[in-house]
């Protein structure tokens, strides 16, 4: 069942002659318990779409539904948002930030304390909860930012570029945390322009460009559309018709390495070895490079994803 439904959502910015549409008739669905990725280059309209999906902004056109109800009619606490900008008060401690956020959603007393302590523990900030947030490291600040989005016990959590300015170690910790929350049943929409992050975390993604969703599917399905690369160091000649039979497109031979372009190179590689050796050609080494999201994006839009 779809938890979140966006139906032909349009968002406009500016006024008068400068008014422009930044999100164009976007429709998508996010299932309950899903970890969904929203990928696109800077300026693609991801954050504008996020504003509408999270309820920060009413769409100029179209509708957004959450848990079967129009988003405007759902309780504000059902949506958790960890914006790209760090959304906490630097001059409050981590605990005070969480307490304030909880109080805004009506939590009080023991319930509030329990929720705050549980969240602090879950993001690894229990020991530093009494420190002012502006003394936290970049990773700790990101974790606090995410914890704040969860204080209202939301049905869906939007994470907007959660790894900006975070070192690799902290990023891995964040990923573990996101996976934990998701495995606990929390629906998460992960927004980023880092395609490898999205690929690593999200089984299903939507790719945006110029305000439109240009693709929305499972990652494997999207990758299967594009050709990867297969390279083999051969001893002897392979049959001339072999590449054609396997759907390989020759890219050339260099220093004994033959290269082909193909769909799903990891699936084809064992077949290539088997058939080559049957024909008396020994494959001494083999390398595969599957298609990546960059290629997917390039294939869909004709533009590079501008990954940074």
């Amino acid at each position: 069942m779809a938890l979140l439904v966006a139906d032909k959502v349009g968002v406009w910015r500016g006024a008068g002659p400068g008014r422009r549409q930044v999100v164009r008739d976007v429709s998508l669905q996010v299932a309950s318990g899903e970890l969904f990725g929203l990928l696109g280059p800077n300026g693609a309209g991801k954050t504008s779409l996020l504003s509408v999906l999270s309820g920060l902004e009413v769409p100029g056109s179209g509708e957004v539904w959450l848990e079967g109800k129009p988003l405007a009619q759902t309780h504000p606490g059902r949506v958790g948002l960890a914006p790209q900008d760090l959304a906490f008060y630097g001059n409050l401690t981590g605990r005070e930030n969480l307490e304030f956020a909880g109080q805004l959603y009506g939590l009080a007393g023991a319930t509030l304390r329990d929720r705050v302590e549980r969240l602090l523990a879950s993001v690894g900030l229990a020991d530093s909860a009494g420190r002012l947030a502006n003394t936290y490291s970049g990773g700790m600040q990101r974790r606090l930012n995410m914890a704040l989005a969860l204080v209202s016990d939301p049905a869906i959590l939007f994470l907007d570029e959660p790894t900006v300015g975070v070192d690799p170690h902290s990023r891995n910790l964040l990923f573990e945390q996101i996976r934990d929350w998701n495995s606990g049943g929390l629906t998460i929409v992960y927004i980023s322009h880092y395609m490898e992050e999205v690929r690593e975390l999200c089984p299903r993604i939507a790719i945006m460009d110029h305000g439109q969703v240009v693709a929305c599917d499972r990652v494997e399905t999207l990758l299967a559309r594009e050709r990867g690369t297969l390279r083999a160091l051969l001893e002897g000649e392979i049959a001339a018709d072999l590449p054609g039979r396997l759907g390989l497109i020759p890219l050339g031979i260099q220093d004994g390495w033959a290269s082909w372009s193909c769909h799903e190179p990891d699936r084809i590689a064992p077949e290539l070895v088997r058939l080559a050796e049957q024909a008396g050609c020994r494959v001494r080494r083999l390398e595969t490079r599957p298609a990546d999201l960059q290629q997917v994006f390039l294939g869909l839009t004709g533009n590079a994803l501008r990954d940074e």
Binding site: P83, F88, N91, F100, S152
Partner: protein
């Protein structure tokens, strides 16, 4: 969790968050309290007396009268009184009566007075002894009255010789107007004195008529002999005749010099003239203060409220930067996702600001009292009543300042805009309202501008309560007028802030 959150809980959450953020910005808070104190201190030390009043071009004659009021003088009053009275009737001067010699010496030593005329404790006694007779004190010298001979001295500041010289001349003239008529009157009285008639009678030689020469056997006879002959040995009659002779002489002289009343003993009666003007008289009030900080100086009654008001409105810097920071960060989005309304957010942000402003006002007034020795009201008014009068003004000023701070904060998108929309207008309004330069120093035609600013009304109320004159009774109508105007400004500012905030709230992510 899905129940609507109660209003008071949301307000309490916002209050505690904003309060913590405000009080943890310790540098800004220190500036809000310390900076005005520094301004007040520096100006309090540097500025002279009379700050806040238009400069008086008239010469100030300061007098200490040590002559006891029960001394024998004229018309039941001491001669010191008559000198003061003469100065009081002198046009175009300001007469200042100092309480004691110590004050006089201190004021001159500290260059706050160019000179002080000291009427000594034996002044009446010495004036009584002044006479044209050889056995009396002759007070006159080439320059006028020899002050030392009548127990008067002028303490002069060597750095202000010219002003002191002018003041000494005023004192000279005044003494002359007191001493000379008295001596003339006293001398004229002597014309009927038996001793004088005796001297006169012995010295007036009259020719003896020829018919009497045989009887008297002399050609010349003195008036004294003539009166003795006329009284035929009757002593009472002779005394009576001598008195008549004296009265005759007096009357003759009076008739001869009819424009003057030679018996007058005062300048007015002697010259048969009345003073056409008079001095402005001021009892000395120690406006200069004491000690390193000039504690108790009258100018603190102006400086403390002025800078309290000025810095109340500079709260806009602190509030503006916090609100701008919130709008620029994700916390603004978080607030918008929460079950809040613009009105509730405004109240939640405004209340802690108001509290900070009230605390700031109270602290500055408290420092004014404890550090600078200012009064919180007229002398003699109970402290509780003084506080009860001041607190509503503090609250009204804080409300207006909070309103302006929130209005500017909701208009600005950047810290620079906070300065442009908040601090700059606050400073200009403070300037126009009289916080920097008292409105008394404005041209008459420009004073109305102060009434267009909340600062002007705030100062009107404060200064009514904190009048430098310790005897002044504040007009509650004026204070109430100031408070009402401040509440009006607060209402307009808060309405503007609410309208702005509502617009931002609706504008969504693009705000």
């Amino acid at each position: 969790m899905n129940e609507p959150v109660r209003f008071e809980r949301l307000l309490s959450a916002l209050w505690s968050k904003e309060w913590r953020l405000l009080i943890r910005d310790s540098r800004s808070l220190l500036l809000l309290v310390l900076l005005p104190l520094v301004f007040i201190l520096v100006l309090g030390v540097l500025l002279g007396e009379g700050f806040g009043r238009k400069a008086d071009d008239r010469i100030r004659v300061s007098v200490v009268d040590l002559d006891p009021s029960d001394s024998q003088g004229f018309d039941g009053k001491s001669w010191g009184y008559w000198v003061r009275e003469d100065l009081r009737q002198t046009s175009d001067i300001v007469l200042e009566i100092l309480p004691d010699l110590e004050t006089a010496e201190r004021l001159v030593a500290s260059h706050r007075r160019a000179a002080v005329m000291v009427i000594g404790p034996d002044f009446s006694q010495k004036i009584q002894a002044c006479s044209f007779l050889s056995d009396g004190i002759n007070p006159f010298v080439r320059d006028g009255v020899a002050m030392d001979r009548v127990g008067v001295r002028v303490i002069k500041d060597p750095r202000q010789i010219a002003t002191a010289g002018v003041m000494e001349q005023v004192a000279q003239v005044s003494l002359l107007r007191v001493v000379l008529p008295y001596m003339i009157g006293k001398a004229f009285e002597r014309l009927s004195d038996p001793d004088f008639i005796d001297i006169l009678a012995k010295n007036v030689n009259l020719p003896v008529p020829p018919a009497l020469k045989i009887v008297l056997r002399k050609d010349v006879i003195t008036l004294s002999e003539l009166l003795a002959m006329a009284s035929a040995g009757n002593e009472d009659l002779e005394r009576s005749l001598r008195a008549k002779a004296g009265a005759g002489v007096q009357k003759s002289i009076s008739t001869q010099f009819s424009r003057y009343n030679l018996l007058g003993k005062t300048w007015a009666t002697l010259t048969r003239s009345q003073a056409t003007g008079g001095a402005t008289e001021a009892d000395y009030i120690d406006e200069g203060g004491r000690g390193l900080f000039n504690r108790g100086a009258a100018r603190y009654q102006l400086l403390v409220p002025s800078y309290t008001v000025l810095f109340s409105f500079l709260l806009v810097m602190l509030v503006g930067s916090l609100v701008v920071a919130e709008r620029r960060q994700g916390t603004w989005q978080r607030l918008r996702l929460a079950p809040l309304s613009p009105g509730l957010l405004l109240v939640g942000k405004g209340l802690p600001v108001l509290a900070i402003s009230v605390v700031q006002g109270i602290l500055l007034l408290l420092a004014g009292k404890l550090v600078f020795g200012m009064r919180w009201g007229p002398e003699g008014m109970p402290m509780a009543w003084q506080v009860a009068q001041l607190l509503p003004v503090v609250l009204c000023v804080s409300l207006a300042a909070t309103g302006l701070a929130l209005l500017a904060a909701t208009m600005a998108r950047t810290e620079l805009q906070v300065a442009l929309y908040g601090a700059l207008p606050a400073l200009v309004l403070s300037l126009l309202g009289g916080c920097v330069l008292p409105t008394e120093l404005f041209p008459e035609s420009s004073r109305w501008i102060a009434n267009c600013t909340p600062q002007g009304w705030a100062l009107l109320a404060y200064r009514e309560l904190l009048d430098p004159d310790p005897a002044s009774t504040p007009s509650m109508a004026t204070v109430g007028q100031g408070c009402l105007a401040l509440l009006g400004f607060a209402g307009v500012f808060l309405a503007g802030a609410w309208w702005n905030l509502r617009r931002l709230w609706r504008a969504g992510a693009s705000a």
